[in-house]
Structure formats: C-alpha cells, structure tokens
Symmetry: C2
Amino acid sequence: MRVKPPCPALFSATPFGGMVRRRARAHGEVMDRTAPIGKPRRGDAQDAPPHGATVAHIVDGLRCDILAHRLQPGERLIESALTKRFSVSRGPVREALRRLAAEGLIEHAPHRGAVVRRLSPRDIGELFQIRVEMEALAARLAALSPDEAARARFVEEIAPIFADAPRRMESYLDENAAFHLSVLRLAGNAHLQELSARLRLPLIMAQVGDALTTEVMRASVSEHRAIAKAIVEGDAEAAAAAARAHLERAAALAVARREADAEPPPSRRA
Amino acid sequence: MRVKPPCPALFSATPFGGMVRRRARAHGEVMDRTAPIGKPRRGDAQDAPPHGATVAHIVDGLRCDILAHRLQPGERLIESALTKRFSVSRGPVREALRRLAAEGLIEHAPHRGAVVRRLSPRDIGELFQIRVEMEALAARLAALSPDEAARARFVEEIAPIFADAPRRMESYLDENAAFHLSVLRLAGNAHLQELSARLRLPLIMAQVGDALTTEVMRASVSEHRAIAKAIVEGDAEAAAAAARAHLERAAALAVARREADAEPPPSRRA
DNA sequence: AGCCTTGATATTGTCCTACAATCTTAAAGG
DNA sequence: CCTTTAAGATTGTAGGACAATATCAAGGCT
C-alpha cells in the first residue's frame, strides 16, 4: 500500500457533524475540542473505525481525497465502488455522500449519483462575496471581544504570523487556516465559525497552490498582520476593513486564476 | 386523520436539495406532465410520493410539523415511529433526518437519535448576527444590480409592501418572506440566497407570532419600504444600512422575547 | 448521413431482515 | 440515598433483493 498523505488538520477541521455543540462527548468527537491540531488519531487510515464512526471515516477519507485533488472535479463517486474501497455497506456510504453534499464538496443529482463538485468562476465569486462579509464580521467581533483570557490566547496563537521566516506554500496554508480559525474563535460566534469553515472548504478545493507565488504569500501574511493588529488594538472597524481587503484580494486572485484556467479553450461558453 | 394545514409556501420554499441548481428537472416534473401511467402505489399514509421523492416527502412533512410547532423543540424523532407514520423503511427516514439536521431544524447525537432543535437565546443572537450581514450584503448587491429586467421584476414583486391595508400576522409573515426573497433574487447571488434561506429557517421556528404586535409589524413594513426605496434608487450603502437596521431590530426583538420566555422559571436548569 | 426508437447495462432509490453497539430506564443491592 | 446491574429501547451497520431511472450502444427510419 502506498503512503497516505496525512490529510492536513485543516481539512478535517470542519466541526460539522450535525450542529451538536453541547453534549458532544460520545465517540471520537472529544478530539475536536481537546486536540485541535495534529495528533494522528488512532485508526486514521482504512482500518476498522469504531462502531458509530463508520460514516465519519468515509467522509474524512473522501473529503481528504477531494481537497487533495486525488479525486478531481466532475469525477463520479459510485456507491458500489465506495462500499468496496471502505469495506462497508451501502448505508454508510450513502450517508457519507449526503454529508459531503451538505458540505458543498460534491453534487448529487437523483438517479445520477454524486460527482465531485466543479466550481465555476461564478460560484467562486459568489462564495467569496459571502466569505468576505463573514470574515469581516468575525474580525469586527474579535476586536470587540471583552474576554481578556480569550484575547490573550489569541495573541499567543497568532504569534507565528509575525515570524519573518520565508514560508513554504504548505506551511503557509496551515498558518493561514490557523489564523482565520483563531480570529473566528475569538469572535465567539460558534455558528459563524461553523459557517465560515463550510464556506472555506469548497474554496480550498479550487485554490490549488500554483497561484500562490511568493509575493502573494508575503502580501497575505502582511494583511494577516494588519488584521491581527487591529483586533488586538480593539479597533473593530479597522479590523473589519482589513479582513475585507484581505478576502477581496484573495477572491480576485481566485476568480482570475479560475478564469484564466477556463479561457484557453475558446470554443466554450459558460 | 385530521385536516392538514397546507404548510405555507415559505416553509417549503427552501431550495435545498444538495446544492444542485442546474439540471434540476428530473423526477416529479415528468410525472406531473405526462400524467401518471396509472398506478397509485401505496396510497395510504399522506399521499403517494413518486419513486425517488420519498425522502423529500418525509423532509417536507417533518419540516412543516416543526415550523408549525406540531413538533416542539426537544421532542424526539424516533426512526421506527417515523417509518410507521410515513409507511417507509428506515433508509429514507434516516436520510430525511440527516437533511433536517443539515438545515438546522433538528439536532442529532450519535446513538441518541434526533430531537427537534432547541435554540438558546445565544443561538438566536449568533444566527442573527450572521443574517444581518447576509441581508445587508443582499441589499447592497440588489441596489447595484445592473440587470434592468430583474430590477423591473423586483419593483413589480414588492408592490404589495406599499399597500396600506392593515396586515394580519399570517399575511405579514408571507409578505415578509416574499420581500426578502425578492431582494435576494435581485442580488443575483445564488449561494447567498440558499444560505440565507437556511439561516432563516431555524429562526422562523423560534419566531412564533405572539411577539408580533401591530406596531412591530408596522415598523417592519416601514423598514421594508426604506430598503426597497434604496434598492430601487440604486443607493447601495443606504440599502445595506436599512437592511442592517431592519435585521438588527428583528434580532433584538427575537432575543428579548426568547430571554423573557426563559427567565420566569428561575428554578430550572437546562 | 443524421435522427429517433429500442434495448441492454449500470446505478441509484427503496425495502426487508438481522444483529451488534450503545443509550436509557428501572430494578436490585450496598 | 447512591451505586451497580440487568432489561428494554433505539440507533448503527450489514447484506441481499428488487424497482425505477439514467446512460449508452445498436438498429431502423426519414
């Protein structure tokens, strides 16, 4: 068997199991709270998932494959094939597919099955329009947070972004995800956090690395610092504006990249 | 079997079947057009859900019951009971429950089953914080829409809100939903529309009518007019501000109502 | 040739039964 | 009264079966 990419934490960092925040102690969910980073959970690969976690196992596996482009947009996900791959029956497979559809990673048409979602430039633009507002709101709320302990934790968490080490794409992606997550946590709106994670997921799918030049990353880091500074200083409007600027730049980049990607064949109509 | 309330259009008006917007023509339509080939299968429980629409049928039924408070928050949804009620097997029932969980109408804990979601005042506040931004965004986008045909349609659709007839609660709720939907349509962001509908759903659940006094309704209608006016005039910032004000007032009302609802019994612990 | 019909095949939607794992509740014991 | 244990209820998953529908290839038609 080949080496399995560990599926970065950000990929699995979607606490989306049906909107249960309280009393979430059963099964593997405790991990979400106690070990938000790293930690290869036991039985991560395709071994036997503990009873009750079969669906989560399949979801994680497929989500990881999709985000890592091992499954390409438009590719079909056949139930019978998945039952064999994961050695489970069709029930859990169908449930996993539905959850992925709810996360926006696949599309599902009746009697036609599920395919990996293909984001049009328009989709990307629309999703970013929403994300801009969500992140701006998060930044504003974070700046206004009166919870001193949480603020201190935030300062500690975001320290890495002030390091001047040259960043690799991979570590930048992690840093980026961690930063946004920290902001969302400080904002203190659990639903916003969940929603934001969900909006980000499909976009990660589209945002492959080849558009992430060194300059882009440097600009992004700089913008992160501006957001962080405003939040720490408690300047809500500046934080929101900085977040907005950050996201809008990212959006422009993503859309441009997608359009450039789709332009070459001139015999196509969107 | 008692008379079944028709489940107002706004309840079912959630186009949320897994994020498929294009190519959504299959199923129910064909049957409606070509006239049934002539077999009322198991026309027993409610009606005959055509093959492939079983899940949707269950989802609609349950959603309707939840929003109409025939199922109260905290009430358990037992799979076996639902199989009997809808005369279906557990498969579709489980799928329906998962969809409702994705819509935020029920909570689902492993091995413990599904219960109708109970929104805390905090939940309501958080959800409204998000909705404020979404509706403000929608208003801004609507004001900026360059599609003249869509603008004309919008003007036509929202005409009713300028009528001075005294409103009943029921008709007001419909008008309110229709207005927001019109704005979202004009905004032209399909994902925003979908997301907004999803956020509204759980809130409808909490927003029972007894807080809707005549003055509140009048104020709301007036705010709608302000939003509409700004949109029609193309004043994006004014539209966004008006939408924000409208939603923030609604949020304050909803939270206050919920807190007042939960305060009285001081000898209770959730 | 191109278009429509027809069939074969693949896949999904649903049903059924069965059993293991787990939660909940009530009884038994300290 | 509290803790432990047993029984019942409910969910999670397996596996097989069949119907309904979509997809696709071959054949007949204008």
